[in-house]
């Protein structure tokens, strides 16, 4: 969403800053290092699954579903794509709702 949370800053304490600088100075590059950390976490044992849990939450989130919707939308080459409502609406309710709408 443009405008929302557009400015994000990350503050490091001294210890973290050292690690950050160290990671950034790795010959393999910062991103590769982070990726290795993620893989390590994902393939690690149950006690080391912080990232796994974060990703699990993310995959179940509306934000992720909206991203998928946008991807499918693009694949469909601009055709209007309608996502499923989270709470389904019965046929009777749909009739009631249509009766409430002005401008159809």
């Amino acid at each position: 969403m443009p405008g929302a949370n557009a400015k994000k800053s990350v503050y490091f304490n001294k210890g973290e800053e050292y690690l950050k600088n160290w990671a950034e100075s790795r010959p393999e590059g910062y991103s590769v290092y982070i990726k290795r950390l993620i893989i390590h976490d994902l393939e690690g044992d149950q006690e080391n699954n912080v990232l796994k849990d974060v990703l699990k939450d993310y995959f179940g989130s509306q934000e992720y579903r909206d991203i998928l919707i946008n991807i499918v939308h693009t694949i469909l080459d601009g055709k209007t794509f309608v996502r499923n409502i989270r709470e389904p609406i019965s046929d009777e309710e749909a009739t009631d709702i249509l009766g409430l709408i002005t401008g159809i």
């Binding site: 939308h73 309608v82 709470e87 609406i89 046929d91 749909a94 709702i97 709408i101 401008g103």
Partner: protein
């Protein structure tokens, strides 16, 4: 060109929106400025139909309570400011669903139809420049849904099925900046008869904050409480910071909050019976502030999830439902 669906709720306090991008909120202030005004990287500057407007500026400016949301350029500018931000290319075509107070939601209401006609771009792409970035926006279709009533459909389906089965009475209370709407459902069916059930009053949170400000002005005549948002924060916290410490105003807030809720309840009880209703749901930004006072009288009342956005999100979720959407797009290119 694809059609993007968005919901847009022009409030007196904040204007809210919802789209596939998620939530949108902007302080509901629009001011026409000189054509010489240039974007400064701060407040949004909108250029539309040869005029310039600053949007979202003025926390210290009281909301304009006489602002008729139906046919003023302010509402249109607020909508264009929102659409410009979610328009991904140089051109965007939109289906906009907007909310109207319950009392103005009747299908035969000329007022609602006028609003829809006014917000539409009449099948044309109109140039909108936001902070120097030019886009072309078409509002292909505008529809409106009754606020409060539409929020019922965001309740979990399993609960709605139970209400239908048990023939339960469910009240949705919606407190906005300037308006208070109440919708009633019996056995899952929206109640529109008698006409008093289409209930809207000018008893929103802003009038209460104005009363609160008067009390504070009287007790602290040398201090300035001009920002409505700041007042709301003070009201909710029960104190405000001074140079040396904090000043406790819990007692004033409690008196004002209780009195406002008493007024709300007294008036709506002429039409509804909240004491015997099976459920009392609260939504709208106003009840984020006043829910504790409603709870004093109705301990089982429930504040709906993300109450400030319940209406606008419910409108969006309802429109994108296939059963509803297929009826709406008939006629859209």
């Amino acid at each position: 060109m694809d059609l993007q669906i968005v919901s847009f709720d022009p409030g007196f306090y904040f204007s809210k929106g919802y789209s596939s991008h998620g939530k949108y909120i902007c302080l509901a202030r629009v001011k026409e400025v000189s054509n010489l005004e240039e974007p400064d990287g701060g407040i949004s500057l909108i250029e539309f139909q040869d005029k310039k407007y600053r949007v979202g500026d003025g926390l210290n400016v009281p909301p304009e309570m006489n602002h008729d949301k139906t046919q003023t350029i302010k509402t249109k500018i607020e909508m264009m400011n929102f659409l410009h931000q979610i328009c991904e290319g140089e051109k965007g075509k939109f289906l906009v669903v907007t909310g109207t107070p319950l009392s103005k939601s009747h299908a035969e209401s000329n007022l609602t139809q006028k609003l829809l006609d006014y917000l539409s771009t009449d099948g044309r792409y109109l140039e909108v420049v936001r902070d120097g970035i030019k886009k072309h926006i078409m509002v292909e279709k505008v529809i409106s849904m009754p606020q409060a009533m539409i929020s019922y459909y965001s309740l979990p389906a399993v609960d709605r099925e139970r209400y239908q089965r048990m023939n339960s009475t469910v009240l949705i209370w919606d407190l906005g900046g300037h308006t208070f709407d109440v919708a009633e459902f019996r056995g899952g069916i929206p109640q529109k008869e008698p006409e008093t059930k289409l209930y809207t009053r000018n008893l929103g949170i802003i009038p209460m904050l104005i009363t609160f400000r008067k009390k504070l002005d009287s007790k602290y005549p040398t201090l300035d409480f001009s920002s409505t948002e700041e007042l709301r924060k003070i009201f909710e916290q029960g104190f405000f910071p001074t140079r040396s410490e904090t000043e406790d105003i819990t007692q004033i807030a409690t008196v004002v909050g209780r009195e406002h809720v008493r007024e709300l309840v007294q008036d709506m009880e002429n039409v509804f019976s909240p004491a015997t209703a099976d459920e009392n749901y609260l939504c709208g930004g106003g009840f984020i502030t006043l829910e504790p006072y409603v709870r004093e009288t109705f301990p089982r009342c429930r504040l709906m999830d993300d109450a400030q956005f319940t209406n606008v999100k419910s409108m969006y979720d309802t429109v994108v439902n296939q059963a509803i959407f297929s009826k709406l797009v008939a006629g859209c290119a």
